[in-house]
Symmetry: C2
Subunit: 344 residues, 2 copies
Amino acid sequence: MTNAKQPLALVAGGAGFIGSHLCAALLDRGFSVLCLDNLQTSRPVNVENLARHQGFHFIKADITAPLPRTVLDRSDAITRIYNLACAASPPQYQADPEHTMLTNVLGTDRLLRLAERSGARFLLTSTSEVYGDPETHPQKEDYRGWVNCTGPRACYDEGKRAAEAMSFDFARLGRADVRVARIFNTYGPHMHPDDGRVVSNLICQALSGRDITIYGDGSQTRSFCYVSDMVDGLIRLMETDGLPSAPINLGNPEEYSVNELLEQILGLVETSGETVYRPLPVDDPRRRRPDIASARRWLGWAPQVPLADGLASTCDWFAAELGCSGLAASGAGARRTMPLAAVR
Amino acid sequence: MTNAKQPLALVAGGAGFIGSHLCAALLDRGFSVLCLDNLQTSRPVNVENLARHQGFHFIKADITAPLPRTVLDRSDAITRIYNLACAASPPQYQADPEHTMLTNVLGTDRLLRLAERSGARFLLTSTSEVYGDPETHPQKEDYRGWVNCTGPRACYDEGKRAAEAMSFDFARLGRADVRVARIFNTYGPHMHPDDGRVVSNLICQALSGRDITIYGDGSQTRSFCYVSDMVDGLIRLMETDGLPSAPINLGNPEEYSVNELLEQILGLVETSGETVYRPLPVDDPRRRRPDIASARRWLGWAPQVPLADGLASTCDWFAAELGCSGLAASGAGARRTMPLAAVR
């Protein structure tokens, strides 16, 4: 195919937790990468090692503003647009709810228009938060959710629902080739230590010897997907032809309570901290687990990394990041044998 | 209160069906009115008679674009902002779904920022569509809805949900004094003959002698609120102090099936048209009826105009508008005795 474009991916939010792993994986697969990020919640260090790569270009930009000239000038060359831009943990996205909403709606619109202009495929990373506090278990893609549209989480949950709506409107009108992933809890290296999410919270508190905070009684369940599995799912979703025009759940269907998660972490990290229980935040979902039948069927995808292995790598990474010791001899340090191609 | 501002209301969507009645009612109450409208689905004729009023100013503007200088220059003087801007019938809001979404999200954001800047109270007209195809009856404000966020109605339903989310975020942060009305089906003079909604559809088809179209079997129910009642509810919501920070349903809780509605109309309009049944559109809600306990309690509001009276006035108006005869002797023409202060 001599006329085919060289693969060039734009990754909005590319310096974030999942975004940085996605950029690395795309470079591994021969893509050049335009990494757009406003560095609001992500950190330049996440992509520091990628900057040496000839095909990697970092552009500091906020997608709520008009796209920078450096992007528009290359629009004809862009073949894939991944939209991962948005603060994703409640304390971070609630710090400026107006910006969160506009990132999801206005920012997604700008990237959809870029996809229309460039002919690039567009992938929106939506979220399990579109299901709110779900009444059915596990959540299938046709479940319409139980979201409080006036509460403090709505800027994110409703922003993502609105971004999905826009994406499928572009698809229905033939304006862009669109895919939507609904991402469930993901964890791994490059998580922000202060993002307030349960995996990073518990690991960082354990490593630092501070008290370990459990919100509610810890019986609420979550599914935890290791980041390399998630990145693999996103690329499959982007690259698979003949998909139905519908969102696809990506996440790990193995369900753990927050207490079980803590137990596993305490098996990896020796800590002097006590466990303390605090009230559940407003609108915190009680349970959430993806039905991934659609991802299995259409993408041949399912998570491969067991929680124990993923947690070991994550604890290792956080220990190095925080300059802590405290890894148990039987724990992470001893079993860092898992291949982690995406972690640089 | 010698320092009090003279009352100046900005009404976005002020040339539309409900907006034009609201402008008239505000002028009656001593407000000056800045009527903003892009005339996308509304018609200048709706506010033609208001233009003679010294306190009425029409500005053609689209709230997805930056607000015009003429508005910003007067921002310090604005005391009330009513946001009624958005195409509201499915064929109209689906014609340009991207614009529908941006009107609700970006447009609402611009008006909220104007409220913050001016210190004006802000009222969002949201919609019963935030409940989607509801699973509970009647709908209370704390029902979270059953909305398909990827379907062809999502640009409107999710756009309004997102606009509610933004409004309550401005309220939570103390950036604006915000009120949100969830408006159920409303009817009356100034409805667009071609807007595809059931009351205008049935009346116009009956008046013109064309076939009368019922979608589904006509057993789906709706509640129909006459426009003067709705305008009264909106003004009460805006002017009442000490409200809880929550949306309030405004609508008529009397439930009629579409077939019953047709029967009443056929009692008012002599027609030669046949009734034909068509498939229900995608995501069309089966039933919808407001619980108005909150409006009764906080606003002392309930609809006053019986359906028979409201339909008679509406048929009269459409007959004049379309230049049709065909009103039954026992029908609208004979009973046009209801006071209609808001209709000019």
